[in-house]
């Protein structure tokens, strides 16, 4: 099975994002860094194997997994029923509050107010899935290839609002752009899960165990403080 393959090889390959700060982006050395990368490091440590990071995009992360090019996907991935039919998910490893953000002068109080508005969102993200469900029919959703497109679209005024994680929005504000995204309403508290191939119970149990342990011994909290600037929420 996958777990014994990993331990016998002594290496684990983990897919991580590189265009989704603060979960995954690059430093000046062009090496990935972020919440997801630290999480990957934690898992490799606990398994006692070497870590090999594979940068992926939201478009190709699942094929990477399915073709056995990576063992795990830690890519701030949310789950839904359709996805669960294809791959397995661990327990949640990171909080993710996503909401709709817009400049202060745009009036949005809830999903219903999106009517007639254009909202940018990163395709395939959790907020994409959720917003698609709750947005009124005459709201226009613009789905960009990656987070970069979503942010650029917002900053250049191509969309009136964006749906994204609060931490992502915070990262934008921190850079003091001409348009400051302000949280209008929370879409969903939808935590992130680690993805793995189906029918690998041993691996799934092991990963779940590591997450559980990290939650109790405070390791995960440290990562959260480092990248999200807040404590791990209790309900995770």
């Amino acid at each position: 099975d996958a777990l014994s393959d990993i331990t016998s090889k002594g290496t684990i390959r983990i897919a991580v994002p590189q265009d989704f700060p603060p979960f995954g982006s690059v430093g000046t050395d062009m090496k990935p860094q972020g919440y997801d990368i630290d999480m990957a490091g934690l898992i490799a440590d606990k398994l006692g194997v070497k870590l090999e990071l594979v940068p992926v995009t939201s478009a190709n992360r699942i094929p990477y997994l399915q073709t056995g090019k990576v063992d795990l996907v830690i890519s701030s991935m949310g789950k839904n029923a359709e996805r669960e039919a294809v791959i397995d998910f661990s327990t949640a490893y990171a909080p993710f509050y996503n909401g709709v953000f817009a400049p202060a002068d745009t009036k949005i109080g809830g999903a219903a107010d999106l009517a007639g508005k254009t909202v940018g969102v990163t395709r395939g993200s959790i907020e994409d899935l959720e917003l698609t469900k709750i947005a009124p029919a005459d709201a226009t959703l613009k789905r960009y290839e990656d987070n970069n497109g979503t942010i650029s679209a917002f900053l250049s005024g191509q969309v009136e609002a964006i749906a994204t994680g609060n931490v992502v929005a915070a990262a934008i504000v921190a850079r003091n752009p001409p348009k400051k995204p302000e949280m209008k309403f929370l879409i969903k508290n939808s935590p992130c899960y680690i993805g793995m191939n189906k029918d690998e119970p041993a691996l799934k149990d092991k990963v779940d165990a590591i997450i559980a342990e990290a939650k109790t011994d405070g390791d995960l909290n440290k990562i959260s403080e480092k990248w999200l600037g807040m404590d791990l929420p209790a309900d995770l």
């Binding site: 989704f20 982006s25 690059v26 000046t28 062009m30 190709n60 073709t67």
Partner: protein, 218 residues
């Protein structure tokens, strides 16, 4: 979060440009070799091979390179063949390049006047000898400008390898744009880098072509 200076961005992009260059060179060299094989099959006498190569060209010229890369990398994986990204990237780019080069070169061969074939035939040369001594040397000469011109497309085509995890210059640009929130600076630099890579190629293609039209000799 890490702060990028302009020079850090430039350095990172230039570093990634290395991959663009290597990928371009490998695809072009490999595509050239394969293209030559395809060319011979295409202009050869075997009808069967001709149809095969025609189908091949149709397939690779008729689908987006993006999809080809994707299917080369992950599609082979599905059949249990584990290919490294650089293998898949070069394989796909080579197959794609070869399809175009073979067509370009076929055009050059057919551009040789019929009289050249007839004159060499009437001197008793075989098909192979006609090719080797009369047609190909002339076709080779006229093929240089369009071939150099096409290399620009190869350089630009390498941009799409990001889909299978290559951090070449376009991908590096996307990542950096996201890490810095300065998309205009970053994309400006990316465009500039491509222009510096491509313009000398397209310019020399043009010069070669002009030269050929003026001094029609040797």
């Amino acid at each position: 979060m890490t702060q990028f200076t302009l020079s850090a961005i430039v350095m990172a992009l230039i570093h990634a440009t290395g991959w663009t260059v290597v990928l371009s060179l490998v695809s072009f060299a490999g595509g050239g070799l394969l293209g030559l094989v395809l060319l011979f099959a295409r202009i050869g006498k075997s009808r069967w091979l001709q149809i095969l190569v025609k189908g091949y060209t149709e397939l690779f010229q008729g689908t987006p390179l993006l999809m080809q890369l994707f299917l080369a990398f992950f599609g082979l994986g599905l059949f249990g063949i584990d290919v490294a990204p650089w293998v898949a990237a070069t394989v796909a780019l080579i197959l794609w390049t070869a399809a175009f080069l073979a067509e370009i070169w076929r055009g050059c061969v057919t551009a040789i006047p019929k009289g050249q074939w007839e004159a060499s035939a009437s001197l008793g040369m075989t098909y192979f000898e006609q090719m080797r001594h009369v047609v190909l040397p002339q076709a080779l000469k006229i093929s240089i400008p369009p071939t150099v011109g096409f290399s620009v497309q190869v350089v630009k085509g390498t941009a799409l390898t990001s889909i299978i995890g290559f951090v070449e210059v376009t991908k590096a640009g996307t990542i950096l744009a996201n890490a810095t929130f300065q998309p205009f600076t970053v994309y400006g630099l990316v465009a500039l880098i491509y222009f510096c890579l491509c313009f000398p190629l397209s310019y020399s293609a043009k010069v070669l072509e002009r030269k050929m039209n003026v001094a029609h000799r040797h």
